[in-house]
């Protein structure tokens, strides 16, 4: 099998949600001292992008999307020690901070977004739920964050999303970060009103949005 073919097999193992095969191929990559960065980018990474598309197109149920991410994570976990010992590491596509805003304890949506971002090569700092704007901004500064993502479930908790932008403006550091919103009640109108940089309706769109903003 030539290298390109192995990459294709790797992508396929993710798309067919075949964990055994993915684990086998990841180990093979280590044994054969393949270019591990390429293995992730062209191999497994290509697979997770397709899985996202399949969900977007209505072919995959949510657990199947999550299964793709779960298998991706297993494969990357196997490869990471090899990458580190060769002195390189998976290139981070960027660093994203995620939090559910104060007053709101809804975590599943934010966690799914975090999972898909990680699977797509972003570093994610997840602050959890019911997080105050002050804490979000402090952690963003400390963590050398590129994008701040704020999640919410209800219109009544959504109002607190704006506090993050207000605080960044107050501190004169609004232009240091991109800020994106998400959650069922969020609309483009709300994003415009707050002066945020965008929103996404689901996890796959979130990955696309973050990619766009980070370029």
């Amino acid at each position: 099998m030539d290298t390109e073919e192995i990459y294709r097999e790797m992508a396929n193992s993710i798309v067919s949600l075949d964990q055994e095969k993915a684990v086998h191929l990841a180990n093979q990559a280590l044994d054969e001292s393949m270019d591990l960065l390429q293995v992730i980018e062209k191999g497994f990474g290509e697979g997770i992008r397709k899985v996202g598309d399949l969900w977007d197109e209505g072919e995959f149920f949510l657990p199947e999307l999550m299964s793709g991410a779960q298998i991706m994570e297993k494969a990357v976990d196997i490869i990471t020690p090899g990458l580190q010992s060769s002195g390189s590491e998976r290139q981070s596509s960027g660093k994203v901070l995620l939090a559910t805003i104060e007053g709101d304890i809804h975590s599943i949506g934010k966690t799914i977004v975090a999972t898909m971002l990680k699977a797509n090569g972003f570093q994610v700092v997840d602050l959890g739920t019911d997080v105050k704007a002050e804490k979000i901004v402090d952690e963003a500064i400390k963590g050398d964050i590129d994008i701040i993502g704020v999640s919410t479930l209800l219109t009544t908790t959504m109002v607190n999303q704006k506090k993050v932008i207000d605080l960044l403006n107050q501190k004169n550091i609004r232009n240091k970060f991109k800020v994106i919103f998400g959650g069922a009640p969020v609309t483009q109108g709300w994003v415009d009103e707050c002066g945020a940089d965008g929103y996404a309706e689901n996890a796959v769109e979130s990955v696309k949005l973050v990619k766009e903003l980070i370029q």
Partner: protein, 218 residues
């Protein structure tokens, strides 16, 4: 008089769980629900099998004279209103968080969907009791409706929490009007004469979201 209910076990329907796990994107355009793969279906079956160990279904409700409630569009043509809060407790949501943090994303999202379907099931049970009371008194009754839907503001969660001792079933309201545990629902049912033809009960007929809203009453 305030009524409290605790249910030993509830039977959550698989179809209801699946409805929360549907693919996104073009799904609605396709109109036809996609068949669920067999192995995914059996995984849902397995988790449904143990789900009751993680749920403590509880409900609380009371009938009020409309005169004891603030004036609202939804109360305009009724004589009595039943207010109810239901929950499945904190155990299932914590289990979801644990699963997600351990990288067991598939089980995590399925369990989360079971929780959503579960609390709706508890709402069904309390709903049924309320409609039976209405029938006994020869009253007509509305479908159940909740703050945060249609024209009813989430802020009116306050009405529920000031009229019902929600602490008794372990549900609290945050400053942002969110209920804890997360898998909780509040709802109202109108009871009176001629409720079926009231403006509120027939609100979908003149709604500008008609055709787009998934919550439409016939």
């Amino acid at each position: 008089m305030v009524q409290r209910r605790t249910y030993e076990k509830i039977s959550v329907k698989k179809e209801d769980v699946i409805s929360y796990l549907q693919p996104n994107g073009n799904f609605t355009k396709k109109l036809r629900a996609k068949e669920i793969p067999k192995d995914l279906e059996s995984q849902i079956d397995q988790l449904l099998h143990i789900a009751n160990d993680f749920m403590s279904p509880k409900g609380i409700f009371q009938l009020f004279s409309v005169n004891d409630l603030p004036k609202r569009e939804c109360f305009a043509e009724t004589q009595q209103v039943a207010l109810a809060i239901v929950t499945i407790g904190v155990k299932l949501p914590s289990e979801v968080n644990r699963l997600m943090s351990e990288g067991k994303y598939v089980d995590g999202v399925i369990f989360d969907a079971i929780g959503s379907a579960g609390v709706e099931k508890v709402a069904d049970l309390v709903n049924l009791e309320i409609t039976k009371i209405a029938e006994k008194q020869d009253l007509s009754f509305s479908s159940r409706y909740s703050p945060g839907y249609c024209q009813w503001s989430v802020n009116d969660q306050r009405i529920f929490f000031s009229h019902l001792p929600a602490d008794d079933i372990g549900v609290t309201l945050s400053d942002g009007y969110m209920m804890q545990p997360i898998k909780s629902v509040s709802f109202a049912i109108n009871l009176g004469t001629n409720i079926k033809k009231s403006k509120w009960e027939t609100r979908c007929k003149n709604c500008e979201d008609r055709g787009q809203c998934t919550y439409r009453l016939s």
